[in-house]
Amino acid sequence: MIQVLLFAELQEKTGKAKIKLKAGHMTVTELKDVLIDKYGIKQLDKVMVAINEDYAEDEDRIQPGDTVAFLPPVSGG
């Protein structure tokens, strides 16, 4: 099981803040493809990904039990 967190416009577009995916090991890119296929998200190029609250790259691997957050470009301050 992988827990996916969506924020800001991603959360609004999909209507979901959290998604639980039955999935094993995969890369960030593979997970992005799953989200694009299943949840009507058009593109995730500019979206940052964090695995267990650490920023990750596309080729990083996700393990079952991980929390993976999709973070649109930030605008704090």
Binding site: E9, S75, G76
Partner: protein, 157 residues
């Protein structure tokens, strides 16, 4: 580093309390940056803003900003509080307080911290206008990422 130096809060920020966290006998200067909600941006009138955060990671990234600052300016002490939720015009959204023996480092460290907050801390702003609303971040009115991604690794000198 003390955790309470870096906070995401939902209630109004008490600026004096953030400043008090960095007061110490070694300091000869304290710089305070106060980020407030602006009414007009590029000719468009904002009615109010809504900030959202990935709170646990945002506090962790604020701590990282603090570590970067202390790496570059070892004599400073820094505290950052960012507010989330619905904010009205002129409300305080963020306070960065830095104390240092001398003012130059206090100014420089404060500016650096604010730049990094805008790059790596997972907080999002939604502007509500008279005629619509939009999440800010991938828009030209804020920081644009040349490579499409923020620089995650700060430079620690």
């Amino acid at each position: 580093m003390e955790n309470h130096l870096f906070e995401i809060v939902e209630e109004p920020i008490q600026i004096e309390k953030v400043i008090a966290k960095v007061v110490r006998r070694e300091a000869g200067a304290i710089t305070t940056f106060i980020g407030t909600v602006r009414e007009w941006t590029k000719g468009r009138r904002t009615l109010y803003l809504k900030y959202e955060a990935y709170v646990s990671m945002a506090e962790k990234m604020l701590r990282q900003v603090g570590e970067e600052v202390c790496g570059k300016w070892p004599d400073v002490k820094i505290a950052i509080t960012h507010r989330i939720g619905e904010l009205q015009i002129s409300d305080t959204a963020v306070v960065v307080a830095v104390s240092a023996p001398h003012r130059k480092e206090a100014y420089a460290a404060n500016e650096y911290a604010m730049e990094r907050i805008k790059q790596i801390v997972p907080i999002w702003k939604k502007e509500h206008w008279e005629d619509g609303e939009m999440w800010i971040g991938n828009q030209s009115e804020t920081v644009s990422y040349a490579e499409g991604k923020p620089i995650i690794k700060g430079d620690k000198h």
